[in-house]
């Protein structure tokens, strides 16, 4: 039975680096996400506290988790592209993701 991908891609020398970096970033996000869940369980009234721009902690933390995911994604891509370019022996292309 066939196992090859629908579209073939060559060996990726940066794969190990990307996997390790991804795991660490995943664990870091897990910690921040767990903090959100723990506050809700341990002291839900704390979520009512006004934090910034008259917004409460629930709104700021919830939206913050969404924005934080976007920021981490961009940083991860940047690091991956740099490593891929370095291992391929050419500079990283500017712009875009």
């Amino acid at each position: 039975m066939l196992h090859e991908p629908a579209s073939q891609s060559g060996r990726d020398p940066a794969a190990e680096y990307k996997a390790r970096l991804g795991l660490w970033m995943f664990l870091f996000y897990c910690l921040v996400y767990a903090g959100f869940v723990v506050i809700n369980l341990a002291d839900p009234k704390l979520m009512e506290a006004t934090v910034v721009w008259d917004l409460n902690l629930a709104v700021v933390y919830g939206m913050g988790l969404i924005l934080f995911a976007v920021i981490l994604a961009v940083l991860y891509d940047l690091a991956c592209r740099r490593r891929e370019a370095a291992l391929a022996g050419e500079p990283a292309k500017k712009g875009g993701i």
Partner: protein, 637 residues
């Protein structure tokens, strides 16, 4: 206008499918769009796949009825993409061909994994299909004026046609168009909400006069209720224990209606409700008069006090002002709940009654998920957040999209585009949900229509476009799920597990036949589960996916001692345990019409038990089966 927009859209989608179907000649084209989709298109198509009826209809509806608790789904659904990006995206692309099973079995070539993963894909896809089909019926019912079941059948038929003509190629482009339109028009709607501002007597821009619900003073002596104002007669009272409320049936000048008995600060008051009564002869009455196209439930939901003031009109507000004012402890919002009972004449009565909630309570978790409740209720909350976080990267219709791009780097880039698009949309859901809550647009009998009804309160064109997008949301997601499910049956089960020799044409035909069978099943289930909140149902599908698939993916990638038997046992455990816990949970008992307090499982979200158990089983079985375990050479992760 809504019907015209809807028909144009359906015609366009079908035309695109037939065009792409004409070009689809190979099984790679059918199952993975030939692996040639550009990462930016695939990223938006990811958003289209992911922003399903649950996101657009369900989350907005849940925020509109339960405040911040609905937004928890947005937070959890988006967080799941972190797992997809950092852990799953590139390895999945490197390992697989068409399906999740290909990837998880790539190192072992095990028939056990093939069978278990195919069954798991099928089960998760069907669990996810149910809320989409429920959403389809909900949407089409008011849009085209046809019954819920006809809406479900129509959507099912269109989707089967889309999938059976061109498979993943048409599904991808439908998702791309829909994902883009959804984000653009949701942004327009949020701008419209902020431009309209606040009013304690919202009238939908002058289209629908605000209805003032009456409150009557009452007295209670020796258990007998009496209305203070003359002319009213109390006919009977009814307690609904499940909802923790009591009602009084009042009559005045020949008109009879149910009122909520409110006891607060030593005073008794009666609050006007809305009612749907199905008499023993089958006749349906709404608010005391026969149901008709003109006599329907009034739209509800408004601010009673804004930062302590009872009658402010604020014409435009910034997004942060909206959130800040809604979170204020001196802001009070009127929401609506329901309670059902059968009266002594055999009439099935459902009453919709108002409750008021302060902003500080509304805008933090607690109205649905009892974070201040018993340990079990807290566990239910943790369980949901865990399943949402871990479920995304295990959904079959998301995983197969990694095979439509040409390389692992493209898989990563498309995931990042998806995170941008989906994250932005989920932030918008909070504004759309709150907008629906306070603009008197909610149908008290169905939270799922919050976003389209909010759009209608602005103008009919926006309603037409939003309805068409919502419909395409359902179409696209159902199409993706049916592709995933048909891949599980035709590719994983028939081709790889049963080893039925098929050429490319027969593989495509097997996929199309499977799509027809799964689509038909989805129609039946969509009709059966009418009335349940689609976000809640999707949360359960996430729990099954996270329990069945994610432990296998993660351990395969990060634990070298993982064996084929360990993976098989883990998938089987995840599927069986999560489904079992769901079927015996209080929410399912309620769905079956049984008393939820008698459910043997005390919580509704199974992830907290089934996900760790699936991991444990994988580790234990792998350790016990180290001898003789074989890996296929040449398949590095």
């Amino acid at each position: 206008m809504a019907i015209t927009a809807f028909l144009i859209f359906v015609a366009f989608v079908l035309g695109l499918s037939f065009y792409l179907g004409y070009r689809t000649r190979t099984s790679s084209g059918y199952y993975a769009a030939g692996g040639r989709i550009h990462w930016s298109v695939n990223g938006i198509a990811f958003a289209g796949d992911y922003l399903s009826a649950a996101s657009f209809l369900g989350i907005c509806g849940m925020i509109a009825t339960l405040g911040y608790d609905g937004f928890l789904y947005s937070v959890g659904f988006l967080a799941g993409w972190i797992v997809a990006l950092f852990v799953v995206a590139e390895p999945m692309k490197r390992l697989g061909k068409y399906t999740f099973t290909d990837a998880v079995d790539a190192k072992f070539n095990s028939r056990g994994i093939k069978l278990a993963a195919a069954v798991s894909t099928l089960v998760v896809s069907i669990c996810y299909l149910i809320p989409q089909m429920v959403g389809a019926g909900v949407l089409v019912e008011p849009l085209l004026g046809i019954a819920h079941h006809w809406g479900v059948i129509m959507v099912g038929a269109i989707v089967i046609t889309i999938v059976a003509t061109a498979g993943m190629a048409s599904t991808t482009y439908v998702q791309f168009i829909k994902g883009g339109m959804l984000i653009v028009f949701s942004t327009i709607m949020v701008i419209a909400i902020c431009a309209r501002g606040f009013s304690t007597k919202p009238d939908q821009g002058g289209q629908v006069p605000f209805y003032e619900y009456a409150t009557l003073a009452a007295t209670e002596a020796d258990g007998r209720l009496a209305v203070a104002e003359p002319g009213w007669e109390v006919i009977e009272t009814q307690e609904v224990k499940a909802a923790g409320v009591s009602f009084a049936k009042l009559s005045r000048e020949g008109r009879v209606g149910w009122w909520l008995i409110s006891r607060a600060e030593g005073r008794v008051a009666l609050k006007e409700t809305q009612s749907v009564v199905v008499l023993s002869n089958g006749t349906k009455q709404i608010n005391g008069a026969p149901a008709s196209a003109e006599n329907t439930l009034r739209q509800v939901g408004n601010i009673e006090r804004l930062r302590g003031k009872t009658d402010p009109v604020q014409e435009s507000i910034s997004p942060t002002e909206l959130l800040a004012a809604m979170s204020d402890k001196d802001t009070v919002v009127r929401r609506w709940k329901d309670a059902s009972f059968t009266d002594k004449d055999g009439a099935k009565t459902t009453l919709y009654f108002p409750v008021t909630t302060a902003g500080n309570i509304l805008m933090r978790p607690g109205l649905k998920f009892k974070v201040q409740g018993t340990p079990l209720e807290k566990l239910d909350f943790v369980s949901l957040m865990l399943a949402l976080f871990l479920g995304t990267a295990a959904l079959p219709h998301i995983l197969i999209r990694y095979y439509t791009v040409p390389s692992p780097a493209s898989a990563r880039k498309s995931t990042i585009v998806a995170i941008f698009a989906i994250g932005f949309f989920y932030i918008l859901t909070l504004f759309m949900g709150l907008g629906a809550m306070i603009n008197s647009v909610m149908n008290p009998a169905d939270s799922n229509m919050a976003a389209p009804l909010l759009a209608r309160s602005f103008n009919s064109l926006l309603f037409a476009v939003i309805s068409a997008i919502a419909f395409s949301t359902v179409l696209g997601t159902v199409a993706g799920l049916i592709v995933a499910a048909s891949g599980a049956v035709a590719h994983d089960f028939c081709d790889r597990f049963l080893r039925i020799r098929m050429d490319d044409r027969r593989k495509i035909r097997a996929g199309k036949l499977s799509a027809f069978a799964v689509g038909t099943l989805a129609i039946v289930l969509g009709i059966s589960f009418k009335g349940m909140n689609v976000s809640f149902l999707v949360g359960l599908a996430f729990a099954v996916a996270a329990s069945a698939n994610l432990p296998a993916i993660l351990m395969l990638l990060f634990w070298k001692r993982t064996t084929a038997k360990g993976i098989t046992a883990s998938i089987v455990t995840g599927v069986v345990l999560s489904l079992g816990l769901i079927l015996f949970s209080p929410d399912m008992y309620k769905q079956f019409g049984w008393d939820p307090t008698t459910a043997p499982i005390p919580f509704s979200n199974p992830g907290i038990a089934s996900i760790p158990m699936s991991f444990i089983v994988l580790v234990v079985v792998s350790l016990l089966t180290q001898k003789g375990s074989t890996r296929v050479a040449g398949h590095p992760v």
